[in-house]
Symmetry: C2
Subunit: 442 residues, 2 copies
């Protein structure tokens, strides 16, 4: 039955579960304009406050996925597995993981969004490489998946147009923090990619969207349950995001660190997360059946240089300068850097590095977007010379700011000084992997 | 502190009480356009679901009242008292009450809205009288209040512009049914009229906005409390709205019934409500100190013809044909009528007349507005030949439809037949007055 938008809104307002038809009328109304923005935002707030059942969230995800083109990749014979992260500071895992698991036998058809706020976007990082194109044509994309088994492109406007509209609206109406809305936004886009299965990195902590482990676990369980309903085996890895991941924040800097990782010189925290997600992908894709087998395959792909060569091939296929792999000089860099030294007069240890503040500082420097129309400066960023748990001698620098403008430096520095906590006692550093939420339980 | 709209929305979403500054930023943002419609509707939904404290509702009412021009009437020496009804079917009380209490010594500066949906508007009824103008200039309005002590006009666009925007938005976003929002909408407009005190008719039942007595009582208590905070003594009378009030529904028909009431020939249910509200006005205005005194004064104003002549003077002052008082022929009427007869083969009693369905049927005939741009037909309507509790013989008509188009007749009739319930037992008819909620308790 065709209802007026305000009738559908009233049902959710009154705490009822929306029917499949109501959810479909909402999503098609968002795309057609029959649901006005002011009606959508009222419904979004009612969903945020009154929640959605698993059935409703499933219907919403399906309807959103079907609001635009759904990619089908029947010509690809390899298992098609993608990874999605809920976002964190210094999270360049996609750049390492895609060539790595492609080297092990998977196909990775990765469509990403742009970064917004304190978390950087995969596309922005790749575009630091001169010539790199993230807007391949459909034919180029398919040809590359067939030959290189990996591609990293932006989502074209005809994929999940409902999310494009709703996400912009949620951002300015205080309706971002809703598990059913986050779930349907993430999964509708990933499921429209034509994948067989999916691995999710659900982060929690100061630098993540979900601050507590409990919230992150709830989101992960919901994501895994909805994916299972849609017939796409999906696992989620719960990971900590309290200090920035790895040592580099900023687009050129993160490309450098990613290539270092592919050369076997990656920092342990970044590699721990990359391996955990990659192993899960190999297992879900049916390439490996055990964690041990997966880890052996992954390490061998790094040690043999196969993953690194995969990255070079990816860069070249997408129009970028492949010599970046051998020589970082082709990347845009700042001329100026400033080291951050705290005034400790004896040896201290890094107790915490507030990831959120590091992300905000990088954004201030020009590495990220304050709004969707901001222009990114790929050269700027922050290098962590020390990570949590490491000793700091008097006058020893903890971080290095790569900057262009002195005014931006000052604003970023003021924030960073407050974001670093030292302690006289060496803190215990725990694993970043908190748990694995498996589709087998749903 | 100046906040972004989404920050204010987030506070209410998270169940916090908004500060006076936040409420004021919202209301001024609504008027200036700084708060976009999609942000306002998200906040309205959060208010509906998370509620508002009495302090917040008071701040909202004040801020809305101050969003436009506030009428001051220092030249009026009589007590200025107005009445507002939350709306019901056949509710023409204002047309009777204003000349009645003006005849007893009050000044009634009544600014009304248009009817929407199943409840008719006072202005629409008055405009059934040829020539009647509801858009007096400020000078005309003041002169008439000084000479006749009563005027009935539409709200000009510069009074409470925030409500004009918010009400239109609430109507299409499922955010009408919120006590803080209803309170602030009603009271901001009434308090901007420059009145000393206010009497509210808070209706409950099938034909009212509030379906249950509990909801209506909650609204009445909130209205009275907020008015008291604003220094305007206000009482609310809780009244039943299950069957239509009086015998007439439709604009010309309701003018006729109102004049009949002023001639002392009014139906008992309509007069019960009119007297209760009018007596409360006289007491609040300090003209009478007891119910008995007030009733004596009111009945004398009817019996002497003073109230009727006051109505004639009002009509003539506002450009209408004053002969309507003596001769209803000047009112637009339909040529065609159709009587509704149910198929009872023995004497039965009217058990119920579903006011909501009668209101909807009148709206279908053209007496009311389906949307704000609908055109009203003053001639059409429904006449109740029987009221609840009255006996109905076989083949005896229960209602008479005054119609123009046969297709509209059929649609209205189908609804009315279902809206009438007969019973073999005579039902007990109770008073329409449920309770009085006094400002003295707040």
């Amino acid at each position: 039955m065709k209802l007026m938008p305000q009738e559908i809104i009233a049902h959710k307002r009154d705490g009822l579960a929306l029917s499949q038809s109501e959810v479909e009328q909402f999503v098609s109304g968002v795309v057609s304009g029959h649901f006005k923005d002011y009606q959508s935002s009222a419904l979004l707030m009612a969903i945020l406050l009154n929640g959605m059942t698993s059935d409703e969230t499933g219907c919403l995800t399906e309807a959103m996925m079907r609001s635009g083109r759904i990619v089908e990749l029947p010509e690809i014979t390899r298992p098609k597995v993608d990874k999605h992260s809920t976002g964190g500071v210094g999270d360049k895992v996609s750049l390492i993981l895609a060539p790595l698991v492609a080297a092990c036998g998977l196909c990775v058809p990765m469509m990403s969004g742009r970064g917004l706020g304190h978390t950087g976007g995969t596309l922005d990082k790749l575009e630091a490489i001169p010539g790199f194109r993230t807007n391949l044509t459909d034919a180029e994309y398919r040809a590359q998946l067939a030959s290189l088994h990996q591609a990293m492109i932006g989502q074209s406007a005809d994929i999940v147009p409902a999310d494009r509209k709703l996400y912009a609206l949620r951002d300015v109406t205080g309706t971002v923090e809703s598990i059913p809305l986050i779930c349907s936004s993430i999964l509708s886009k990933k499921m429209a990619e034509g994948i067989d299965s999916l691995v999710l990195d659900v982060k929690c902590g100061i630098g993540a969207f979900m601050k507590t482990e409990a919230e992150a676990r709830q989101l992960a369980e919901s994501l895994v349950a909805i994916s299972a309903r849609m017939g796409k085996p999906t696992s989620a890895i719960l990971t900590r995001m309290d200090e920035p991941l790895g040592h580099m924040i900023g687009n050129s800097l993160e490309v450098i660190e990613s290539i270092d990782c592919l050369k076997g010189k990656g920092p342990s925290d970044l590699m721990e997360v990359t391996y955990a997600l990659s192993a899960e992908m190999l297992i879900l894709g049916g390439i490996e059946s055990t964690q041990e087998g997966a880890m052996t395959a992954l390490k061998s792909a790094i040690d043999s240089g196969k993953a690194l060569e995969g990255f070079r091939a990816l860069v070249e296929a997408q129009g970028g300068d492949g010599t970046v792999v051998d020589n970082y000089k082709c990347l845009p860099r700042t001329e100026k850097t400033k080291d951050i030294v705290l005034n400790n007069d004896s040896q201290m240890y890094v107790e915490s590095l507030d990831a959120r503040s590091f992300g905000d500082a990088a954004c201030i420097l020009g590495a990220g977007r304050a709004s969707t129309d901001s222009i990114i400066d790929p050269s700027v960023g922050i290098e962590l010379l020390k990570k949590v748990g490491q000793a700091v001698q008097p006058n020893e620098a903890i971080a290095r700011i790569h900057y262009q403008g002195i005014d931006l430096l000052e604003a970023a520095e003021a924030r960073l000084v407050k974001a670093i906590k030292l302690s006289s006692k060496k803190p215990i550093v725990s694993s970043l992997i908190i748990d694995r939420i498996s589709h087998e339980n749903y």
